[in-house]
């Protein structure tokens, strides 16, 4: 089964919807949103929209962007997706330093801790690595060649992360697998030494993040999944330390019933220098904050921050260190029959201040639009418009559901179809 996406590498494009993505610069000097093929960046220091400069070709991305992120030191930014290109940007000039071509569509990206390598995963489950040569400053060096790093056999990779100490490289896939690989000295020769597999999820793994504090610099891995759990791992052994079922706590159990992937975890984001993890859940209007007890090695729900009024279900989350803000976006591209072809909605939750890193009791309030850094100018740039009617949110929520099913859930053949496939198989024919 499931021959289509893996064998042909391409699925039916018309049915594909790309959820909106958000990324925040590590010191919050800028914020980026991707919707469809559109990449939007707002410069918070300068208080203005950024115009991206790409000398390599006429247009920027030509198809849906599937992954964006800043490097840990904030110097680089990477965007990649269905147009089979990976663009590496300088965050100083917002010029595209390198465009890397991939044979297949790109599903995830990561930047090594020292900023010298960019890794990306393609639709065949292969992770590639490129050496980022920033020595020639802002000159665009076009069409760098990527070397294969590792492969998850024929499963789409959903997330890539470097461990905070840079020693390990973590990759998660649609087959509930998390692989922890020693990041080698010469990554261009491949990453052959597997440290562990973190196995325990029973559905696709959708997102990874590290909880990392001053006291615990090597960090602990957390992962979110379609099985409605967030899990805490010791990556050096692959041991599952704790499982947090978010469905019950989020009050999702009694509501809409058994709709498919209703409680799937869609995105995770750890709040820097704290032990908090913000979790976006399919169909939840708001986020769940989990608190991680690093000495007891447990995860528990600290608070559910719901967003009143609008049906705002975040598609992506982002933070920066010590800004105390959690950025959220909802939206999707390729909405057919929609008046919102490429619109996104941005919201911000405040209250994660350094002084009270782990106490979420009093803090965490959803900011009003005019309280968001960058104000209306930022919203106009990142959202594509300033105000929305109610329909937008319904459309966005619907789109998110479609995209989750398309991206992450295995194609389930109907019973009828399965019977047909069985009957037409050669081994059965022989017998009958």
């Amino acid at each position: 089964m499931e021959d289509t996406p893996m064998e042909n590498g391409e699925t039916n494009k018309d049915s594909e919807v790309a959820p909106a993505l958000i990324a925040v610069h590590p010191t919050q000097s800028s914020v980026a949103v991707a919707v469809g093929s559109d990449l939007r960046v707002f410069d918070l220091l300068g208080g203005c929209a950024v115009s991206l400069v790409d000398d390599s070709g006429s247009s920027l991305h030509k198809d849906s962007i599937r992954a964006i992120r800043y490097g840990a030191d904030g110097k680089l930014f990477v965007s990649a997706g269905d147009d089979k290109t990976v663009k590496i940007w300088s965050t100083e000039s917002w010029r595209c330093i390198t465009t890397v071509c991939s044979e297949k569509r790109v599903s995830a990206v990561a930047i090594s801790s020292d900023g010298s390598y960019v890794c990306f995963a393609d639709k065949f489950g292969v992770v590639w690595v490129v050496d980022v040569d920033v020595s020639d400053g802002n000159q665009a060096s076009v069409n760098k060649k990527a070397a294969p790093l590792l492969s998850h056999y024929c499963s789409i990779i959903t997330s890539l992360e470097f461990s905070p100490d840079g020693r390990f490289f973590v990759s998660a896939d649609r087959d509930f697998k998390i692989r922890v690989t020693v990041f080698p000295k010469k990554p261009l020769d491949g990453a052959h030494e597997i440290q562990s597999f973190s196995l325990g999820h029973t559905e696709f793994v959708s997102c990874l993040a590290f909880v990392c504090t001053q006291e615990c610099l090597q960090g602990f891995l957390v992962s979110g999944s379609g099985d409605s759990t967030v899990r805490l791992w010791d990556i050096s052994s692959g041991s599952l330390l704790n499982t947090c079922d978010i469905r019950e706590k989020a009050g999702l159990l009694e509501s809409k019933g058994i709709e498919e992937c209703y409680g799937a975890v869609t995105n995770l984001c750890t709040i820097p220098d704290s032990t908090l993890v913000a979790v976006a859940v399919q169909s939840l209007q708001g986020i769940i904050l989990l608190s991680c007890d690093l000495s007891a090695q447990t995860l528990h729900v600290a608070k559910v921050v719901s967003i009143e009024g609008d049906a705002f279900i975040p598609t992506s989350l982002g933070t920066s260190s010590s800004s105390g803000l959690l950025w959220m976006v909802t939206g999707a591209s390729n909405l057919h029959d929609s008046q919102y072809p490429c619109v996104a909605r941005v919201k911000v939750i405040s209250g994660f201040k350094e002084s009270t890193p782990d106490s979420v009791e009093h803090g965490s309030i959803v900011l009003k639009d005019n309280e968001i850094p960058g104000g209306e100018k930022l919203l106009e740039k990142l959202q594509g418009r300033v105000s929305f009617d109610e329909n937008f949110f319904l459309t966005a929520a619907e789109a998110l559901k479609t995209s989750m099913s398309n991206l992450l859930i295995k194609k389930q053949y109907s019973t009828e179809k399965r019977e047909f496939r069985k009957r037409t198989r050669n081994d059965k024919k022989l017998k009958q």
Partner: protein, 252 residues
């Protein structure tokens, strides 16, 4: 095993299942998914199902005895049966993608257990796609031997990634093999033989066994003689190409 006498799928003379009732497609596409259960992690593998004499109930999961040999793409199971008596205290498993073939091997082992009381308790078979699910069955360094006998050749360049020996999959095999563990490969297809040897030779965590070591290893001669495929090649006077490598610690 009830109704064996009247069951035409079992031979009356030997009590063993007849192969012709378990014919299957010659080749499966290992990249496509099927509907078979996969253990969530190696700790979820129920040893009592596979080795009931060693594990009378399923709640002794943390027993120290673990599977040590894996025959990947075991086909009709000839190798397992030869190894079973050669290493009677070692647990081994065959992994096979085709369900009919897996069923055949299962019945074959059960029949052997009945006709040879106390024997063949250390071998079993599981239907799975080894290219995807090896880490679900074995922990790091758990295996001491892995066998890849007469794997499907997948001649076309674009199908090379379906081959069970590939640079990427060797990373996983290196992970489940203990340091010093051995990977055995053999084929009658020269091109595939070269491919497997080249993949192993270029991998930083494998080194070739010397000719002396190969001669001293009782398993070597089984490679070309123990399996159904090997016997077929032998009957037709075909040449075979072998590559046997040891898992070594990666150099720092």
């Amino acid at each position: 095993m009830s109704g064996k006498e009247t069951n035409p799928t079992f031979s009356k003379s030997t009590g063993l299942p007849r192969k012709r009732f378990y014919r299957a497609r010659a080749h499966s596409n290992p990249l496509s998914d099927s509907h078979f259960p996969v253990p969530v992690s190696p700790r979820h593998v129920d040893y009592s199902v596979h080795y009931p004499q060693y594990f009378p109930s399923s709640d002794q999961v943390d027993s120290c005895k673990k599977i040590q040999f894996a025959d990947i793409g075991c086909g009709f199971g000839g190798l397992l049966i030869s190894l079973s008596t050669l290493f009677p205290e070692t647990l081994m498993i065959g992994m096979e993608l085709r369900d009919k073939v897996t069923e055949y091997v299962k019945e074959r082992i059960l029949a052997l257990r009945v006709t040879n009381p106390g024997q063949y308790q250390n071998i079993s078979v599981v239907r799975t796609n080894s290219m995807k699910y090896i880490p679900n069955y074995f922990e790091k360094g758990q295996l001491s031997k892995m066998f890849f006998l007469f794997p499907d050749p997948h001649f076309k360049e674009k199908n090379h990634r379906r081959r069970v020996i590939s640079p990427f999959l060797l990373d996983e095999y290196a992970y489940v093999l203990e340091v010093g563990g051995i990977i055995y490969t053999i084929t009658d297809v020269e091109e595939l033989g070269d491919w497997m040897k080249t993949c192993l030779e270029n991998h930083p965590m494998f080194e070739a066994l010397t000719d002396e070591e190969l001669k001293a290893d009782p398993v070597t001669k089984l490679l070309s003689s123990a399996t159904e495929e090997g016997q077929k090649v032998d009957r037709n006077g075909g040449q075979t190409f072998r590559a046997v490598y040891r898992r070594i610690a990666p150099s720092l």
